[in-house]
């Protein structure tokens, strides 16, 4: 079973040199720690920055320089600031190559639910609906099941929808799945996890190819 760090590490393998990438809050943020040496990945922060750098050294925090998670950050050579309309403009125009998001539920047709739980205080969708509606390549980082074992990879989302038929890949603590017309296609197993365990933990349509290699790190 993958740790959160390992989920991020596995997602980082999807990065290609020159990509512009938007990382959501939570596990997706950790992906930045696993960008391969020598690869140029430009991180977009949807409040209005391309080229997000690491956290500042203590004492160097600039209140005017934060990311979409409201954390103090830094710039790097080549960074650029812009307003929020341009930020979502470039997202909507498909200029961001890869978006990594967390999710509460994903359906086997690519629907995603990650913004609202009925009965709980609703904080809002922020930029999540814009991102899922526009990005061409969306990887979801998530736990495969809830604490009581209920699958979060479903036939249909039960929570309020964030976006329709948009997720292209899921990396859960159990494995890697492409979302295709036939449903979740199992590509890799987490170390020590069997195909049967994954089948048991998946509610949505699952396609198991003949070969399902174990993930390599």
């Amino acid at each position: 079973m993958l740790t959160k760090e390992q989920i991020a590490q596995r997602i980082a393998k999807e990065l290609k040199d020159g990509m512009y990438v938007n990382l959501g809050i939570g596990i997706p943020t950790l992906v930045a720690n696993y960008i391969p040496e020598g690869m140029t990945i430009t991180l977009q922060s949807e409040n209005g920055l391309l080229g997000m750098g690491p956290f500042p050294f203590e004492g160097d925090e600039d209140p005017d320089l934060i990311n979409a998670g409201k954390q103090t950050i830094t710039t790097i050579p080549g960074s650029v600031f812009f307003d929020s309309a341009m930020s979502f403009g470039m997202i909507r125009a498909g200029k961001v190559d890869l978006t990594v998001l967390g999710a509460m539920e994903v359906a086997d047709n690519g629907d995603i639910a990650n913004w609202k739980i009925p009965g709980k205080m609703v904080k809002g969708m922020g930029g999540a609906m814009d991102l899922v509606a526009s990005a061409k390549n969306i990887i979801v980082a998530m736990q495969h099941t809830s604490r009581d074992g209920t699958s979060k990879l479903l036939k249909a989302c039960t929570l309020p929808i964030t976006g329709l038929q948009c997720v292209t890949k899921v990396v859960s603590n159990l494995g890697v799945f492409d979302i295709q017309a036939e449903g979740f296609v199992l590509r890799e197993r987490a170390p020590g996890i069997s195909v049967n365990e994954i089948v048991a933990a998946t509610d949505g349509r699952l396609v198991v190819p003949n070969e399902v290699p174990e993930m390599q790190f």
Partner: protein, 232 residues
């Protein structure tokens, strides 16, 4: 042409009960601190506030929630605020949640004289309820209307006496968009300079969009999530 005001109180003096206001900023970054303080002092009520966030309990728009001056918030994310939650659950406060990009684009639409815009954000969700859906090249879009705000309160880094504005880093966010969108736009700046002091190539908001400008004081610039790495 007289756009320069002495302070926030004078600049916001004609904002009346029931007005619709835009307030710039993302989280607590780039918010019109002086304008908000003056609104609290003025006691104006029943405001509809268009702002990406609603501040925290004791800062930003949170201050106007404590004094119960806000009737309705139009925002994309309203966490980090207990008083907000209390008023919402008790029915004292109305909230309309809209996607962040839709919020930004509806401001831009107003500033650019475009009555409506199309965005795919929210298709298939509760955000789409009651909205027109159009299909272009096989993809569905919602038609979203330009905002119509009586006043916009924005915060810039520098501004000149003609109302030209320059923003700093990610404190830019919604500020230039709301500056374009307000029927009356009130800009507060950290440094007010004479016209001609700013490079004409590097002004983010042309003064034509800005009706009033003043130099703010005592900026607190509170940090919401202080994340740092230790020095070696």
């Amino acid at each position: 042409m007289q756009k320069v005001y002495a302070n926030a109180d004078e600049a916001i003096a004609d904002i009346r009960d029931g007005a619709t206001l835009m307030l710039g900023g993302f989280g607590l970054c780039g918010i019109p601190e002086n304008g908000i303080a003056a609104l609290v002092r003025s006691g104006v009520k029943n405001l509809t506030c268009i702002s990406n966030n609603a501040g925290v309990d004791d800062f930003g728009i949170g201050l106007m929630l404590q004094t119960k001056q806000v009737k309705k918030m139009i925002s994309s994310y309203v966490g980090e605020n207990a008083e907000f939650e209390r008023q919402l659950l008790s029915g004292e406060l109305e909230v309309e949640l809209i996607p962040q990009g839709t919020l930004a684009t509806r401001c831009m639409a107003a500033g650019y004289g475009m009555p409506a815009v199309f965005t795919p954000a929210g298709v298939g969700t509760e955000v789409a309820e009651g909205k027109e859906i159009r299909t272009f090249n096989g993809k569905d879009y919602l038609m979203e209307m330009a905002f119509d705000a009586d006043f916009a309160l924005v915060k810039a880094w520098k501004g000149d006496t003609h109302g030209n504005l320059v923003f700093k880093a990610t404190a830019r966010n919604f500020n230039p968009l709301m500056a374009m969108a307000g029927k009356v736009t009130i800009a507060e700046v950290e440094e007010l300079v004479p016209a001609g002091s700013l490079d004409p190539d590097q002004i983010h908001t042309p003064g034509i969009y800005v009706h009033r400008i003043f130099e703010g004081t005592n900026y607190e610039k509170r940090i919401e999530q202080r994340t740092v790495k230790p020095r070696n």
